[in-house]
Amino acid sequence: MTAITTFRPPTTGTSAAARAVGVGKTYGVGDAAVHALDDVTVAMDAGRFTAIMGPSGSGKSTLLHVLAGLDRPTSGEVYVGDTEITGLKDRDLTLLRRDSIGFVFQSFNLLPTLTAAENIVLPIRIAGRKPDAAWVQSIVETVGLTERLHHLPAQLSGGQQQRVAAARALASRPQVVFADEPTGALDSTSGAELLAFLQGAVRNGGQTVVMVTHDPVAASYADRVLFLTDGRIVDEMSDPTADAVFDYMKNLGA
């Protein structure tokens, strides 16, 4: 992949693209209550690639969903940039997701009726804006999809579909991109390509990416890894290697 030189980091007042302050998330009530998140306070640094890891049921996906405005915390506050999103109405939250947040899910990222190109500019079109053609073109080239732009998702491989999703996440120049197990359904080669692309967007373009994963190799692409257990952040690691993460996870009992 070619280097990304045209990324411009969004200018924000703080160094955190998203942060959680004392966030709790409880499902159910009384004896049946499950605490998915327990008083989590964490900041996702702008311009960095953060990975969130933890065993199944540790609350890592819940944290991502809460930070991304897809789910509401039971207690605490969540900020995207300077905006406190915990109290936002659904409509405002939706507009924030549309304009300031990019998403890559594990699967089913694309609308089957739209071509790859149409999927990439979907949030911009939903907003009723005209996409910046040169910008979109540069992303498309970077993810290597120029040849497949006018194909429907069903005609693309899993890896290609995830790269389209990543291109879409970046197309609207969001404040932060959230990726939920983006390589979970990919083979290792396709996964590596996608991760390299996300890493490039951060290193060369100054983007902010937050990714949930259970794969130590995927986590090794990040600048920083947060470890979650039982809804709490128990540790973190900077400039991780796959081996270090793997060993740490083993100790966590994952």
Binding site: S61, H65, L70, D71, D90, R91, T94, L95, R97, R98, D99, F103, F105, Q106, S107, F108, N109, L110, L111, P112, T113, L114, L122, P123, R125, I126, A127, G128, A154, R168, D180, E181, G184, A185
Partner: protein
């Protein structure tokens, strides 16, 4: 395996509800129709049975056949001498002469008391013996006695505030007279005889004003109780002169209720047609539902197949589900049918028809027929999707891919194409030259089936075109269009349901509009009359001949030519005839005689149309066997052959021949030509003044005369449109069903859209636009098809005389299309709401 079936059905409540509703509504209409007809039959039989319950035997002239409609009585009158003969018979307790005939009540203000909905206005003699009256009982006051007294039915008295002691005018075939109301009459629990207005006189008065002195219409007999009615009738018959018969009162009651059944059977058949349309439209929804059930369950079915279920078992399972659904929905439909029957009764009343009432009749036959029809329709509609389910390969259980829509087959295109071309050819053949109705009907049917067959192929390109303007509405618009094009089969069958209903509505509108537009020009061609007299209500059989006599005396009137009508059997076929005035007919009606003359009709002649003459090879002088109810078989001679037109058609006989063979003739239309130089408005005013005492007739200009006909067409059209709306409503339920299922299928897509920033408002708009595309597709196709059908039918009818030009009501069709759009928006409300409430997380998280 059946437990799985039940659980599957209950798992999707909305789908179950909508599919059930679409079947239940059609079945409800069917059941309601049956209940209505049975109830009417029971009510009328009860009423007639009650009226004749005091009469054991009726003596009357034999009738060649029972006439069910038309002015005039079916039985000739009896001489008074018969009464004495009957009284001598052993076993007769009481015998009295009875007379009936045309009598129109006026209220105290001199306005006509018109009978509702096709019922006659009658006068009767009231028997002196109270027991002979049966259920015809004096409600208040007393029975009439003497030349100036009358008792009237309770309905007329109440509705027109005619109090006891009032002086009211009554019109007869002869001069009108004034009477004092001394009593009101009820009929068991009813206030009138199925809408008929009735005036009762004592026998001598009735003879004078209704019939002829010295004769009766019949002799009614009460037995002394020693003999059965049948035995008494036989004993009486033995002493009667030839041509006179004695029948039991029960038999006469049955004749009356049979006649009612026969005339009501047309209404019943019409309702049945609407029920069939509703069921047909409903079957498309069933088809859709089962297609979706099969699609959604393909993995489950594949799993069943993988663990060893045979294709037959899968098929049986699905058809069992269809049968269960159909049976349950039909049962609901039967219950709803009671409501439909009540609603239809109200509708009939609202249209001005008075029907006798009784408790709602729900016969076992109604329940069985409704359940069987509903279940069979459901199973048949589910057959194709169920068969498709059997083709699911076991390996598909292992695949995750969402089942895509199969491309429309070439066979479908071929079959549809052949049907379309064949249908068009049949239509063209049928409409060229002599109209071949069978060919036209076949052509229309073939075209309809072709359109339904080709719809899945045409749906995608059409949705693209219809949705094109939505591209301007941003992403939600574009996605709506994509979604509508996505499963063309489903879009097609949903739209087809709407198309069928709308095409019928539009087709009828075109026909009715052309008919209305043709009244005036075709009337102008047919007659040179300056003014017309017609009945005060369109639904009466006619009006007193007194009106024509009075109009003739008005200064400025040159010619008065009266026309009447009745029923008889000509050349072995029951048909209606017109009776005319031979002396004046040709002065006001353009007969275009190819041979013969109307003036030579006399009392044994008949004019026939060129078509009839050609068909039978008749020429002037040919004898035609004719049979009248009152006088039996005779032979009439062809005296002329004429071109039928908007005013005259069929067999024409002279008024004298009519009167001689079917007593109590009334006028139905009177044509009036004015002197040269007479002022039209002035003369019209003078005639109206002359008719002041004859409110059963009114005077009209040709334009007004045509407008009366148009008004009648309008009310019929309104009635049919209301009936067809049911089919449209079912079609809308189908759109709701399709949208709800689509939303359910696309939960993940909706979640994704919401995650990447689509607002709930945009989601709702997306579903709404998809609905509008389907509705416009169905609406536009329906309008186009309806315009085609209407034009073809109108073209075919142009060979007759009623329609001269095709008139397309574009404004009306435009309004229907707008309504279709509105309906689409309405149908989308609930599905759009559920789409906007999709749980974003559940949709995007892979579990």
């Amino acid at each position: 395996m059946f437990t799985a079936t039940l659980r599957g059905m209950l798992a999707h409540k909305l789908r179950l509800l909508l599919t059930t509703a679409s079947i239940a509504l059609g079945v409800a209409f069917l059941a309601g129709t049956l209940m209505l007809t049975d109830t009417m039959h029971a009510a009328f039989s009860q009423l007639m049975g009650g009226v004749s319950s005091g009469t054991d035997t009726v003596v009357r002239q034999e009738s060649a056949f029972t006439s069910v409609s038309g002015a005039g009585t079916a039985h000739a009158s009896l001489p008074e001498s018969v009464l004495e003969q009957v009284r001598q018979v052993d076993g007769v307790a009481v015998a009295e002469g009875a007379v009936s005939g045309y009598a129109l009540l006026l209220d105290t203000g001199g306005k006509a008391v018109l009978a509702s909905g096709g019922a006659p206005t009658m006068g009767y003699s009231m028997t002196a013996d109270a027991a002979l009256r049966g259920d015809v009982q004096v409600r208040s006051g007393r029975a009439p006695s003497g030349p100036g007294e009358v008792a009237i039915d309770a309905s007329s008295a109440a509705d027109h505030s005619i109090a006891l002691g009032s002086e009211i005018g009554i019109l007869f075939r002869g001069p009108s007279e004034t009477f004092t109301v001394v009593g009101t009459v009820g009929y068991g629990g009813q206030d009138d005889l199925g809408g008929t207005t009735s005036a009762y006189f004592d026998a001598p008065t009735a003879q004078r004003v209704l019939g002829a002195p010295g004769s009766f219409n019949e002799v009614v007999v009460r037995s002394n109780g020693e003999l059965s009615d049948t035995a008494l009738s036989e004993r009486i018959a033995a002493v009667l002169p030839a041509g006179t018969e004695a029948v039991t009162g029960a038999a006469v009651a049955k004749e009356a209720s049979d006649a009612f059944d026969e005339s009501f059977s047309i209404v019943g058949a019409m309702f049945a047609v609407f029920a069939a349309i509703a069921l047909f439209v409903g079957s498309f929804i069933i088809w859709n539902t089962f297609t979706m059930i099969v699609t959604q369950r393909s993995r489950e079915i594949a799993l069943l197949r993988a663990v060893g279920a045979t294709r037959r078992q899968v098929l049986r399972n699905l058809l069992g589900e269809a049968a269960l659904l159909g049976f349950g929905a039909s049962a609901i439909g039967v219950v709803l049918g009671a409501g439909v029957a009540t609603g239809l009764t109200a509708l009939i009343h609202a249209l001005g028809f008075s029907l006798p009432s009784t408790s709602l009749q729900v016969l076992p036959r109604t329940v069985v027929v409704s359940l069987v029809v509903g279940t069979v329709v459901t199973v048949v509609a589910a057959l194709v999707p169920a068969r498709r389910a059997t083709k699911v390969l076991p390996v598909e259980a292992l695949r995750d891919a969402a089942p895509g829509a199969a491309a429309p087959s070439r066979l479908r295109a071929a079959v549809g194409g052949v049907l379309a071309v064949g249908g068009a050819a049949a239509l063209a053949t049928g409409l060229t030259g002599e109209v071949a109705w069978a060919s036209v009907a076949l052509g229309l049917a073939a075209v309809l089936v072709a359109v339904i067959t080709l719809a899945p192929i045409a749906a995608r390109p059409l949705a693209r075109v219809i949705g094109a303007p939505l591209g301007l509405r941003g992403m939600p618009g574009q996605l709506a269009r994509d979604n509508a094009m996505r499963n063309p089969r489903r879009t097609a069958s949903t739209a087809t349901a709407l198309m069928i209903g709308l095409s019928l509505v539009v087709g009828m509108s075109v026909f009715a509009s052309s008919l209305k537009a043709s009244f005036e020009p075709s009337l102008e061609t047919a007659t040179s009359a300056d003014l017309f007299l017609m009945g005060a209500s369109l639904q009466t059989d006619g009006f007193s001949q007194e009106a024509a006599r009075r109009a003739a005396d008005v200064p400025g009137v040159a010619t008065v030519s009266a026309m009447g009508w009745g029923q008889a059997r000509f050349d072995g076929v029951d048909t209606s005839f017109s009776s005319v005035d031979p002396a004046t007919l040709e002065q006001v009606v353009d007969l275009n005689l190819t041979s013969g003359s109307a003036t030579t009709l006399g009392d044994d002649g008949v004019l026939v149309t060129t078509d009839t003459a050609a068909q039978h090879g008749w020429t002037v002088g040919s004898p035609i066997p004719a049979e009248f109810a009152a006088t039996g078989a005779s032979v009439l001679q062809v005296r002329g052959i004429y071109e039928s037109n908007a005013l005259v058609d069929g067999y024409l006989i002279s008024a004298a021949t009519h009167e001689a063979n079917l007593p109590n003739r009334l006028d139905s239309t009177v044509l009036i030509a004015l002197d040269d130089g007479a002022d039209l408005a002035q003369t019209k005013g003078d005639i109206a003044t002359a008719l002041a005492g004859q409110p059963d007739a009114k005077v009209l200009t040709p334009k007004q005369f045509a407008a009366e006909g148009a008004g009648f067409v309008d009310s019929l059209l309104a009635f049919m449109t209301i009936m067809l709306l049911l089919a449209v409503v079912i079609a809308l339920l189908g759109i709701v069903n399709t949208l709800a299922l689509s939303v359910h299928e696309r939960t993940r897509e909706l979640g994704l859209l919401r995650a990447v920033g689509m607002t709930t408002r945009q989601v709702r708009a997306m579903v709404r636009w998809e609905s509008v595309i389907i509705a416009v597709l169905g609406g536009a196709a329906g309008a186009a098809l309806g315009l085609g059908f209407g034009t073809a039918l109108t073209q075919a009818a142009k060979s007759g005389n009623m329609i001269t030009a095709i008139d397309v009501p574009y404004l009306q069709v435009g309004i229907y299309l707008l309504l279709a759009v509105g309906a689409g928006v309405l149908a989308a409300v609930a599905p759009a709401r559920s789409a906007s409430r999709v749980d974003v997380l559940r949709a995007v998280v892979t579990d």
